[in-house]
Amino acid sequence: MILLTGGSACGKSSYAEGLCMAFPGPRYYLAAMRPAGEGGMEKIARHRAMRAGKGFETIERYTGYDHLKLPRRGTALLECICNLTANEMFDERGNITDPVRPVLDGVEALERQCDRLIVITNDVGSGGGDYEPAVREYVRALGEINAALARRASHVYELMCGIPLVLKGELLK
């Protein structure tokens, strides 16, 4: 697994897609972002335009990746752990579930089904700290998940201004 982290608009998605193109197909784009709200729709439209013509099969799935069956082995790009964590943690009725195990089980299940798994996350812990308790708990859980994923990953890069900084492994591209 290759784990990519970084802040908003630091070039994670386009770098991830470039990595995927270097690996053999089939290529699956696993979209964890719910198409809700104005910001979500804008982001989904931009990412779709970026992937156009690159031979990705898009699979939208917001929770429960441990039950997903990929059609064939190949290269998969999961975007992103921040959305998946929020989806596993908060449901429509306002219930809160510990997201750590569901997210990690989902990623492990994906790893078993593909030759290359590229996972995008976000370093949400490096901002203001004055959040309401549920958001603080989300930030903490995401930090724990990121650390666990980085332990499993062969490569971890932080993207900064579109430049990959190697945190683990060597630079592949």
Binding site: G7, S8, A9, G39, G127, V135, Y138, G162, L165
Partner: protein, 117 residues
């Protein structure tokens, strides 16, 4: 052009002065004849749709300093969200054009692209 990015108070201006620039060379969020511009993020937040028009002049600067604003929980507020995404996208374009990119942490510069002039 050298692009210097880092959090608020991470030492970007002190570092650019160590490269030989003085306070009089530093323009605070405006594009004029001075060789160094800082608070790029403030210029972008004032007009997030105008980042492409900033590029040509920024490219001609000796150094461009920008706060890293993309970390932390993604804001619910649309303007805040679009502003920080515009800063990120502009920095990606500047980094592609820059001869050198420096990331500041705790006052320590790390060259992440190229070499210091």
């Amino acid at each position: 052009m050298v692009l210097i990015v880092g959090g608020e108070g991470s030492g970007k201006r002190s570092f650019v002065k160590s490269l030989g620039y003085t306070q009089a060379d530093l323009a605070d969020g405006v594009l004029d004849g001075r060789p160094v511009v800082f608070h790029l993020e403030r210029m972008v937040f004032q007009n997030p749709d105008g980042i492409d028009s900033l590029l040509p002049e920024l490219e001609g600067k000796a150094a461009v300093l920008c706060n890293e604003v993309g970390s932390g929980v993604i804001p619910v507020d649309r303007d805040e969200r679009l502003g920080r995404e515009a800063v990120g996208r502009l920095c990606i374009q500047l980094a592609q054009r820059a001869g050198c990119v420096v990331r500041m942490v705790c006052g320590i510069p790390t060259v992440i692209k190229g070499q210091l002039p």
